[in-house]
Symmetry: none
Amino acid sequence: MKNVKAEIIAVGTELLLGQIANTNAQWLSERLALYGINVYNHTVVGDNLQRVEDAFSNAHHRSDIVIVTGGLGPTEDDLTREAFQRISKLDIIEHPPSMKKIETFFEKQNSVMTPNNRKQARVFKGARVLDNTVGMAPGMIVTYENTTWIFLPGVPREMKQLVKNDVFPYLQKLTGNEEIIKSTVLKFIGIGESALEHELSDIIHNQSNPTIAPLAQDEGVVIRLTAKERSKEKVDDLLENMKQQILAKVGSHFYGFDDEKLENQVISLLEEQHKRIAAAESLTGGMFTDKLISVEGASSVCRGGIVCYDTKVKQDVLNVSNEVVQDKGVVSAECALEMADNVRRKLDASIGISFTGVAGPGEVEGNPVGTVYIAICQNTGEQLVEKFAFQGTRNSVRRRATLKGLEILFKYLK
Amino acid sequence: MKNVKAEIIAVGTELLLGQIANTNAQWLSERLALYGINVYNHTVVGDNLQRVEDAFSNAHHRSDIVIVTGGLGPTEDDLTREAFQRISKLDIIEHPPSMKKIETFFEKQNSVMTPNNRKQARVFKGARVLDNTVGMAPGMIVTYENTTWIFLPGVPREMKQLVKNDVFPYLQKLTGNEEIIKSTVLKFIGIGESALEHELSDIIHNQSNPTIAPLAQDEGVVIRLTAKERSKEKVDDLLENMKQQILAKVGSHFYGFDDEKLENQVISLLEEQHKRIAAAESLTGGMFTDKLISVEGASSVCRGGIVCYDTKVKQDVLNVSNEVVQDKGVVSAECALEMADNVRRKLDASIGISFTGVAGPGEVEGNPVGTVYIAICQNTGEQLVEKFAFQGTRNSVRRRATLKGLEILFKYLK
């Protein structure tokens, strides 16, 4: 199929009320473009049967592929099935595996399934049913009068999972697109977007396959490389070659590919070095330890931590000395160092890390909001402490301190 | 003008390529709703004359007000004027004040004005021209065959400025709308979307002002009420009355309005009751304490916590007894209770809460992934412990356990 015309219809009054933006359409469009599928229209329509039907009818007459997001849920204003039935006259039947899944879900939750939940297991007769592994309503692909209709849940997480697992492989077969597109992300920490772009300006300006797209994110800067070629080998070569060129210039800030997270890299380094970590957290309140423990396999290297938000807890549980608390204050390099060293001993770890500072709203002991000390102490006696001044609200300061802790620890272990 | 039907058309291929999301439509919709103008469709169409014309033609036949963003710039693919001329046959003329402004801009920049820039000063004959004070292309309002067409630049900053200064005052006059619209959100925990809708089905079916829109979110279910009336008092009465009706039915699951979060409610309840809390977290790894400490003012009631991810930390730091660890295991009601009671004592709190369980990947001591015990112990001797089986990945299990902890604590304090 050449020059395929696709369009995306989002069903949901919340979009027309401006409660959320149609990010599903953006996400889908960006990826459809990679598969060489042209998207000619986005439409948003509310939970109104006639208007959904009208939108579907317009789409049916002008597009080869129509992707519909939303309107598959259990409530009365989920009208996607009814609207498509009006134009296609297709029968709607219950899909036993989906029904079974819904029943099992309610059983496991020990809660009663209300009758309207059955609706989510209803599919068009003859449809290819797409298993929703992260939610209840399955997706569907229906071909009707030469148009391929793809129905997906509106919840972004569910929609994306169905698209990656089922829809893209299906579309690639359908369109017979033999070009292979592959995209990879390189992640950096401790360097800004413009500095990174500056370092790489020669490379960025002199080539177009792979394309190089830098993007600033909360957790550092990423570069997305996207290559297209006729064979898997060629695509891989292109990407590998470009990775090497980029890492030769800015490798010291690199920490991982694609879904790799800084905390995963920290856990890996700890594993390699047979080190065990414990954290003493004041303003970060558990956020740092939470990040580490989010990593599968963290148990082998992460002992845990003490959240010593209260000064008395710093003293009574973590044994920070009275001298430090009185003379230097709890927001001080000395306090951070005692916290890190004491949590390391108390939890029998090889490395202790600590966070103390002012998240706000008000200042503490004359230290302005955003002042944060982060310390690391090893059982070898090695130690370091750094002071930071973070900007932002209470929770941005807390988040930035946590990320900075991961960054310091990563560089320290590396 | 009653029950005005409006729609929004965005012109620009960059939207169809997924390079940006259609945030203009979201912004406009949110504000139009407040003016009592119902938005029934969003459309995105690329820079293609025929397709823009088709989108305009559809809109012209179904809407009273059409707002078009984008396609007014100087380049060849800015086609909004041409497309609307095809359907309206209106003359396009140069607007001297706009032309003057463009010339002045280039003079000031000391740069040469290319001929295509003249295009930006071209307007429909008879149009109301809206002065763009932050960019070059003016906006336009044209009434044609009873439909009001409003053309705006696609750059969000320019679009917003024109809308605030000119479009909203115009629309308010046009619609003669003196209705006041007010919206409020009620938040619930411990009840699913379909169960909530089931409980409220009578209310939902029997009225339309306020409208009642349930929406499932990560942290429970919310209901948005939106009321329209001639006076502020009447709107408030409508909303208040509906709140009472809803709370009479499902009030036991209610925890807050609008931006209120469950953790804020928990902190408020602790403050009111002069209770101080400490947490012992195994699988949740600090996530629970982090949630509490995210709340401004948490310091007065949140002592902190111990993250005892490792069994030895449970024993050595938290003094969980050897008998419990050996006979019952770390994933047990007994272990949860000891953790909660010991963390309470150790951190000198009035309430201790604990989390122990299996986040995965593998099972622990014969307990499947998702098994979680949550216990609460008070200094009064009161205690409770509950067992759960959560679904999902490692981090969904951890997140669900954390939310469930907030829910249990909220209900316990209430």
